[in-house]
Symmetry: C2
Subunit: 463 residues, 2 copies
């Protein structure tokens, strides 16, 4: 028999990994809730009509499609079958696909439930998404997104709040980071002043790579895409801007004065930084003109977060979109949101050894099993201790003590309880500290009093 | 544009529903952890080779299959395409399927990770599963299972512990229930003593329906399946047994004396009840000879839970299986487990109005937005209050007070904070109780002191 396996790009999570992952999820969730965001969940499967055309051509290709149930070929066009035309056949045999991100399902949710929603609507959503990407280090086909969005309010305060929220999450997790901020209107303004209004997508795709590849590669790509030399000449000083955020904003303001949209973007960005100044933000924040995030649906602020102490892609990103629900027939609702990449955050925390001890759930006390008489005596006592809020295990077999002790060890159970004939007569319980080896005899009330302690501070309750 | 929708049999969960669902999940999770069970998670997608043949013919039919990526028809047999042979084509175009339950993925997990696991291994798993069943009231195509299993120990104490665990979950949730207990060996014994050893599946399928349809229908079904009249005659007094659990066990013991397996089943069941007697179990427990749960993989104890105050199917069930990992090439590992059906439990709690107030997450205080100057003054104060552990929202727009108040109302935010010019001068915050309408002026320290209260007792922290 062949060894069973999981599909490539997917993973099992062991108790150890679950403890660490839940620490991240709990922290993010607690911060979301502390800002008044409310949880929703959407189904793993969406109708393909909801998903297709929302993520560009590549996205459509990377959707996992679900085969229709039953005699799925009944509806298939014979022509497509005869020519083994995969792309042509697919719409006939698949109606559903797996969720590709949390933003499009959220837009669908808002449109479907608009009569039950009070705007502004602040929602968060922590769920897996699936993409048929080529698996590689740090990139999976099933991974978790943690999104917070406010929809139905134009106020820049929402964008400011999201930056505050990002700062709270990463400072609680102990990750030092830099938050880059840009504005889609500034990118549009740049396109306008250099005379490349019609090529804004090519322009943003190219300058988005500035940090990664350098100015030479960026201009090279622009030349390939047919940008004229004078246009590129005009662009270079703009994307080469240096200085503090306010210095850059002042310079851009002068350069932008022929673009109304560009000026509006500068004003918005300045206002966001003015608000941020009033707040004790831990992270570095920076206006970065080269930040584009390649996503066409952003219309205002664009936000991206990088860990400063680890070489890794962005660990959080987002921005404002003015017309997301428009794709489902509900125009004019503005929203802004961020998405945390739990898997990358996990990798950062592993590399920097940021997980505190004790995030893995384990019982506090293991009762050693000495046989039937002792067990019958112990069962109600164990019940009582557990009811008092202490997590307790009884070893199920009367195996050798050494084996039972080693079970406690491997499972990080800090105390072992021994109750043999003596203890039964004395109505006492011998407790052994697995770390120090120290033993003491306690009554059940003493155990409940001494071991019913909450978890060490800073560790959110197991979820 | 057509109104967007979700695939049939799937659901969105609103913040209100999420609060209630998380209350159930948190309760179950906390109880699992209190017994020393550890969380794992497995991917939504499994290889079809892992899933097929594990759930019977019907199960295979109800699996959601995922279309291979890329030119999926390349590998298809031309013959199957020409004849539009859906069943024949499917293995060529789909390699993966969605998880159908949590038990088979767990068995796969144990086999794959056996070198990293210390036995006995107590795991829990709370994840959605998918079945292409015909959707109907209370039955969904995506639903959540909450499983706890111990694997690698034969001890009946594990079965006893699972019944304790069931009792803890339902008494914490406030659901009165009856736990029915049987043993697969007793069913085998019955088949032996009535001379129907070869028809044990037909026999158990039939008597499983006893409670639902009555003895007439059961014997009718047996006749249809070719059971001879003398066999049925012998069965009737057995399945008609009445009396207390111990009376029924005593009677069965006499009837069973020609079946070694049957006697072993009786002994095991008696031992389980003997252990239960030492414990303060809240639920009714009952030996029920007609309980079979139709699942062929059970080999020992069989457990099923019904809510006593609501007409609904079972809300939890499980049992012992001696060879689950055998299907993946690792024989000889015995396990026992239970599965809670979160969706049915939700329905029961809704019908009986068992959800406590306050399970929906909401901010504690909404700060009214009076405009830019007030907001700039407030932002650092709000930050300070939030850092102190109080969930606070600032209304993002300086909308009409009435609109902002109604936002607090709809979102169940109990307090509203008003800071205008007067308060800014006095360095005070006016707090309005949305329930009583009462208003008072407080300093920020007073707010932190008074409103930083934990949730009402009994409500687990939001997950």
């Amino acid at each position: 028999m062949t060894q069973p396996s999981v599909p490539k790009g997917t993973r099992d999570f062991s108790p150890e990994e679950m403890g660490k992952r839940n620490y991240i999820f709990s922290t993010i969730r607690q911060v979301f809730i502390s800002f008044g965001y409310k949880p929703i969940e959407t189904p793993a499967m969406e109708n393909l009509s909801t998903l297709l055309g929302k993520y560009g051509e590549e996205g459509d290709r990377l959707l996992f499609r679900i085969l229709n149930s039953g005699d799925f070929l009944l509806a298939a066009e014979k022509e497509k079958l005869l020519h083994a035309d995969s792309a042509g056949l697919s719409p006939f045999i698949c109606e559903k696909g797996l969720r590709y991100d949390l933003t499009v399902p959220f837009a669908r949710y808002v449109v479907m439930h608009r009569n039950d929603i009070t705007f502004p609507f602040k929602r968060f959503q922590i769920q897996p998404v699936w993409r048929a990407d080529r698996p590689q280090k740090g990139r999976y086909r099933e991974f978790f997104q943690c999104d917070a969005d406010v929809i139905g309010s134009n106020s820049l305060l929402n964008d400011v709040e999201l930056i505050q929220l990002i700062d709270s999450v990463f400072s609680r997790l102990g990750i030092c980071c830099k938050v880059k901020i840009n504005n889609r209107k500034i990118l549009t303004g740049i396109a306008e002043i250099i005379g490349a209004e019609n090529k804004i997508t090519d322009l943003t795709v190219a300058i988005d790579k500035l940090e990664k590849t350098g100015i030479e590669k960026v201009t090279g790509e622009l030349r390939e895409k047919g940008f004229a030399e004078p246009v590129i000449e005009k662009l270079i000083p703009i994307i080469n801007l240096t200085g503090s955020t306010y210095e850059k904003l002042d310079l851009m303001n002068k350069l932008m004065n022929s673009s109304e949209t560009g000026m509006a973007g500068i004003a918005e960005t300045r206002e966001i930084f003015d608000y941020l100044k009033t707040l004790p933000i831990v992270a570095q924040t920076e206006f970065d003109i080269a930040l584009a995030r390649g996503l066409n649906y952003y219309t205002g602020a664009i936000i991206e977060v990088k860990a400063t102490d680890v070489e890794i892609g962005s660990i959080c990103g987002g921005g404002r979109y003015d017309n997301l629900t428009g794709i489902f027939g509900l125009p004019g609702i503005s929203g802004t949101g961020v998405s945390f990449g739990a898997d990358r955050i996990y990798d950062v925390m592993m590399q920097l050894k940021l997980f505190p001890d004790g995030v893995t759930s384990a019982a506090k006390i293991l009762f050693i099993n000495f046989g039937d008489a002792e067990v019958k005596y112990l069962l109600p006592l164990i019940h009582q201790i557990r009811q008092a809020g202490i997590n307790v295990e009884l070893y199920p077999d009367s195996a050798k003590i050494k084996k039972q002790m080693s079970y406690a060890d491997v499972n990080h159970i800090p105390y072992v309880a021994l109750v043999g004939e003596t203890e039964m007569t004395e109505k006492m319980i011998t407790i052994k500290d697995m770390c120090s080896g120290e033993q003491k005899k306690l009554t059940i009330d003493e155990i409940i009093y001494h071991y019913n302690k909450v978890l060490p501070t800073g560790i959110p309750p197991e979820i």
